[in-house]
């Protein structure tokens, strides 16, 4: 199953952007693909995901996840101090409330992410924010967003992906939470 998914990603990278539908979200799509690829291939991050969500599958090196096809605003709450240390974004922008006031956008459906959301039995869900400058915030949760209409409870991990000039993930920061 995992191999098929990897081929699917490769297929999208190589041929996926020829359709008119995908062109509109081309640049965002590249970022989403880079993040999906990172999560699919980074062993160390997958160890942390497994530890955080208490996934005990020893045979499976990488965590299965489903993708939520609605793009929603994700804030930087919980990451502020480490963002200041890493200097990923200007200090003046590192305040959860100011970030919300400056960067908030209404949620929208992404046909691109819908195409990426192959069905699987995963209990982990990946949601995206909109790519900004050279970074993208995403969230891994154990609550099915398709069934919960944007309500949050359970466990969640907010991940800050920083891209290099080639559009590849250069570094990440993440913070775990117990919601509500």
């Amino acid at each position: 199953m995992q191999i098929i998914q990897k081929y699917l990603i490769a297929f999208f990278i190589l041929f996926g952007f020829n359709t008119t539908d995908l062109k509109a979200q081309n640049s965002d799509g590249c970022r989403y693909l880079a993040v999906i690829d990172y999560i699919r291939t980074n062993i160390s991050f997958n160890k942390d995901i497994k530890a955080f969500f208490k996934i005990s599958t020893k045979k499976q090196e990488f965590v299965e996840f489903a993708i939520y096809d609605t793009v929603s605003f994700i804030g930087i709450g919980g990451l502020e101090e480490r963002l200041k240390e890493k200097k990923f974004i200007p200090d003046t922008e590192i305040n959860s409330r100011k970030y919300y006031e400056d960067k908030y956008f209404n949620s929208y459906h992404s046909s691109f992410l819908k195409k990426m959301n192959w069905s699987n039995d995963s209990k982990i869900y990946l949601s995206f924010s909109r790519p900004t400058d050279n970074y993208l915030l995403a969230e891994l949760t154990d609550l099915n967003p398709y069934l919960n209409r944007g309500r949050k409870s359970g466990h969640g991990m907010i991940v800050f992906f920083k891209f290099n000039s080639d559009g590849l993930v250069e570094d990440i920061l993440y913070a775990g939470f117990v919601y509500n």
Binding site: K47, D48, A51, F52, S72, F73, I74, G75, I76, G77, G78, N95, S96, R97, Y99, Y100, E101, Y104, N106, S107, N148, R149, G150, R151, K152, S153, G154, H155, G156, I158, A175, G176, F177, V178, Y179, N180
Partner: protein, 303 residues
């Protein structure tokens, strides 16, 4: 080089209270995060951020440095909440006072919360009949938290649900922390969407705070219910006890019976009475005893 000297092994570096001496500032001084004091006379230079009315604000360790220790000199820190959302900070402090009968003050400089004492005991608010205001369970727990050596940090975060941070230990294991992120919009929504027969703060600032306390490392690091449609989970044991104690003289705080809300006709209801829960299980709109839960995505739009 000429004129320069150095020495190795200058003797024992530590003073009392597990802290290093800071002789470069003045002889006999010790510096901690929130204070600086003279260990010889056991007096601090700055005023105590958690003053005790019966003790001088310049006193350290209640004058007894042998038996008492205070490594950080603090307990509950609301500085981030106050700096970024003073309205929410005031609402939290006010609601905690109403639910506990304590008089809580927040130090202007440090953002550290403390409660007022009278003759060595907590000063308690009383109603017109002379009865102590609030819930005994809430009061006991808050005094314990404010007297504790563990720092609980309360932060403002408008972008996610009210929640508790998790951190990683050296072995990469995720553990609970003592940092609570408060989303005031979410809490205000719960207050506004409470049915008229219930007290509007049954899921307000204070009771949300006591729920989140259960998630913290300090509170035991409890998860929410793993049967969220069947029970409210461990973190609601204390809040429900508080609700019970506050439900007097015709005031009804109800009881949170389940963790998660149930949807009827596209609206999510969180039941606080058996009748409301029974109605929801029959897929009927309850006549009272509920809070309507607005999805966070909708709340964020209303900025």
């Amino acid at each position: 080089m000429p004129g320069r000297t150095y020495s190795i092994g200058n003797g024992y570096r530590y003073s009392i209270n597990g802290q290093e001496k800071t002789p470069e500032i003045a002889p006999n001084t010790t510096t901690a995060e929130f204070w600086q004091y003279d260990a010889r006379i056991v007096r601090r230079w700055n005023i105590d951020p958690k003053p005790n009315i019966s003790i001088s604000p310049y006193n350290c360790f209640a004058g007894n440095p042998i038996f008492l220790a205070d490594v950080r000199g603090d307990t509950v820190d609301v500085s981030h909440l106050r700096a970024n959302n003073s309205k929410a900070n005031d609402a939290l402090i006010s609601d905690l006072q109403n639910k506990t009968g304590l008089t809580i003050s927040v130090n202007e400089k440090t953002g550290i919360a403390s409660y007022l004492k009278e003759n060595g005991a907590a000063k308690l608010a009383r109603d017109g009949n002379g009865n102590i205001v609030g819930s005994k369970a809430a009061r006991k727990e808050l005094i314990k938290m404010l007297d504790s050596k563990t720092m609980i940090t309360v932060k403002d975060d408008p972008t996610g649900p009210t929640r508790v941070e998790q951190g990683q230990d050296k072995k990469g294991r995720f553990t609970y922390t003592n940092t609570i992120l408060i989303n005031s919009v979410e809490i205000e929504s719960s207050i506004n969407e409470t049915s008229k027969d219930l007290h509007s703060t049954t899921y307000g600032y204070a009771l949300t705070f006591f729920h989140e306390r259960g998630h913290t490392l300090y509170g035991g690091g409890h998860d929410d219910s793993n049967e969220p449609w069947l029970n409210a989970g461990d973190n609601e044991i204390l809040p429900n006890r508080i609700r019970k104690q506050l439900s007097i003289n015709g005031t009804n705080y109800g009881q949170r019976l389940v963790y998660t809300q149930l949807g009827v006709n596209g609206v999510d209801y969180l039941p606080f009475t058996q009748e409301a829960w029974d109605s929801l299980k029959r897929n009927e709109v309850p006549s009272g005893g509920y809070i309507i839960i607005i999805p966070l995505g909708e709340l964020l739009k209303k900025k």
